[in-house]
């Protein structure tokens, strides 16, 4: 079995009494986009700092690209790309100079830098604006440039810390698409932190959910959906009452049913059919206007995990 690109064992980092990262054990296989989900202040950024060797763990250990974060952090930073919480661009410099600087940092030759900068900026539709001072660019353009910077030296692994945070939906979708196409083209592993569940759902092959420093779960989004609940049916109509609700709950294929404002949410066991349940509702006097069947979203999974943790 190939060595995971990131492996942490009981990784912890405390700031005084605050447990920013608490006993996180995690394996990220190579070649995927791994989403690290959690609300603000959950410990996502601290985890990235630990994985980059910018902070020393209080307990436990981590290996990135088979290097120990405590003793071989320089080796790790030589081989990864990062877009951290802020784009970190030099706004008084041109876009081209920003990339050129990082190309020099990674000891790329002048010819390699020129070719790579042209390739990335062209792919991201930024080539014509390469001589502009970055300060004159929109936030979306700056963030795309920062993604290009992270990929400049062909790293096998990149860290992206909330890349679309604070973006409007259109800008976020555009950046997400650019990111997805670049990542697929470059074949890199991505460690992506986000609290945007749509983003994680669209980009990530595997996700880990962290809260208050603790890793709550890890898996691919489909597994997590199944773990949290099976397929769901939503039925909208009139005349739904407690009697219908009770009848539904008695059915073997129904794991749970909830009624709210003429809106029935039925959690199904396995791949059960909805038709017999609709018939039951109609026979019992309910009027059905609309039936939707689907899986629990990652958002449902996330909220369930948060609720479980609270209780």
């Amino acid at each position: 079995m190939p060595e995971p690109i990131i492996r942490t064992e009981h990784l912890s980092r405390f700031f005084g009494t605050v447990k920013a990262v608490d006993d996180v054990s995690l394996e990220v296989p190579a070649g995927i986009v791994f989403g690290f989900l959690g609300p603000n202040g959950a410990g996502k950024t601290t985890t990235i700092h630990l994985l980059l060797g910018l902070l020393e763990p209080t307990q436990g250990q981590a290996r990135v690209l088979s290097f120990d974060t405590r003793t071989q952090a320089d080796e790790i930073r030589t081989r990864i790309g990062a877009l951290l919480e802020f784009a970190g661009l030099y706004e008084r410099m041109t876009a081209e100079d920003n990339l050129d600087f990082y190309g020099r940092i990674y000891h790329m030759t002048a010819a390699e830098r020129r070719a790579r900068i042209k390739e990335l900026l062209t792919h991201l539709d930024l080539w014509d604006r390469r001589k502009d001072q970055v300060a004159k660019w929109s936030r979306g353009m700056k963030q795309k440039l920062a993604v290009a910077r992270a990929l400049l030296h062909h790293p096998p692994l990149i860290f992206l810390d909330e890349p679309t945070a604070g973006f409007d939906p259109v800008a976020a979708a555009t950046l997400r698409n650019d990111l997805a196409s670049l990542v697929a083209r470059e074949g890199v592993t991505v460690f992506l932190t986000t609290h945007n569940l749509t983003e994680a759902e669209k980009l990530c092959a595997q996700v880990g959910v962290i809260r208050q420093g603790k890793l709550l779960t890890v898996g691919n989004p489909d597994e997590l959906r199944l773990r949290t609940g099976g397929p769901q049916a939503e039925i909208v109509g009139h005349g739904f009452n407690d009697q219908i609700l009770a009848l539904l709950r008695e059915r073997p294929e129904v794991a749970n049913a909830e009624l709210q404002n003429n809106h029935l949410t039925i959690e199904l066991r396995g791949e059960s059919k909805v038709g017999p349940l609709v018939s039951l509702i109609v026979r019992s006097g309910g009027e059905v206007e609309e039936v939707r069947k689907g899986k629990a979203s990652l958002e449902d999974v996330f909220l369930t995990l948060m609720e479980e943790e609270n209780t």
Partner: protein
């Protein structure tokens, strides 16, 4: 070494040539005062590099560094570029030394430029006699002293810049620090027994000043290098 030059390249792009016309105000002001106004006031005496002229020249690095070094470190933190730089492979020492070298070269260059501009100006305005040049030994002393003062101001600036959150704070503290330093030196000189000063000729005095500055440079540079650590900077 190439990492240090990469940082110097970046600093020159980021701080020297990209700030628009506003970034030229301070250097032009320094050159205006030190390279034009004062030589015009002193006249031929300027070329003699008297103790007073020498003291005035030593102000140049401090004046230049105040705006520059605060921006180089506290500015990176303020503009959120430092974290990304620290996440790269660039070694701590190369980041720090690159910033120091860029700042020292800038301040030193401004000092030499002012010296040469003053000389040309004084010579052009003289109506009689041959073309004058600074006494060579004093000229070399002046260049070395400006270099040592540039390193001192820069190292002090680094230490201050590492401990404050904003460029403005760094500049304020460095300005106050410069004034305190000048008063400190003045008091120290006055406190020296009269026979110590009178026993030294001008060249010996300048050599002693160089030695003191070199020791201070070494101490401050050493502390700066010890203070500049990724984990500490990330936490701050």
């Amino acid at each position: 070494m190439s990492d240090i030059w990469t940082m110097v390249w970046k600093e020159s792009k980021d701080l020297l040539f990209q700030g628009g016309w506003r970034s030229l105000i301070r250097p032009l002001f320094v050159i205006g005062i030190m390279g034009i106004y004062l030589p015009l006031q002193f006249g031929s005496q300027w070329v003699a590099l008297t103790p007073l002229g020498m003291l005035l020249l030593l102000w140049i690095p401090f004046f230049v560094v105040i705006s520059f070094i605060g921006d180089a470190i506290a500015g990176e933190r303020e503009r959120h570029t430092l974290e990304t730089l620290l996440a790269s492979r660039m070694p701590d020492r190369a980041i720090l030394l690159g910033k120091i070298v860029a700042t020292v070269l800038y301040a030193w260059g401004m000092g030499i430029l002012s010296l040469l501009l003053g000389l040309v100006l004084v010579d052009l305005l003289r109506t009689q006699g041959n073309w004058m040049f600074y006494p060579l030994d004093l000229f070399v002393d002046a260049i070395v002293l400006i270099l040592l003062a540039s390193v001192l101001a820069t190292s002090a600036g680094v230490l201050i810049s590492l401990r404050v959150a904003t460029v403005r704070q760094a500049q304020q503290i460095l300005s106050i620090g410069t004034i305190v330093f000048v008063f400190g030196v003045t008091f120290a000189l006055r406190a020296l027994p009269a026979n110590v000063l009178s026993s030294l000729n001008y060249s010996q005095f300048l050599l002693s000043a160089m030695a003191v500055l070199a020791v201070l440079d070494a101490i401050l540079l050493g502390i700066s290098l010890m203070s500049f650590h990724r984990s500490r900077l990330i936490l701050s």
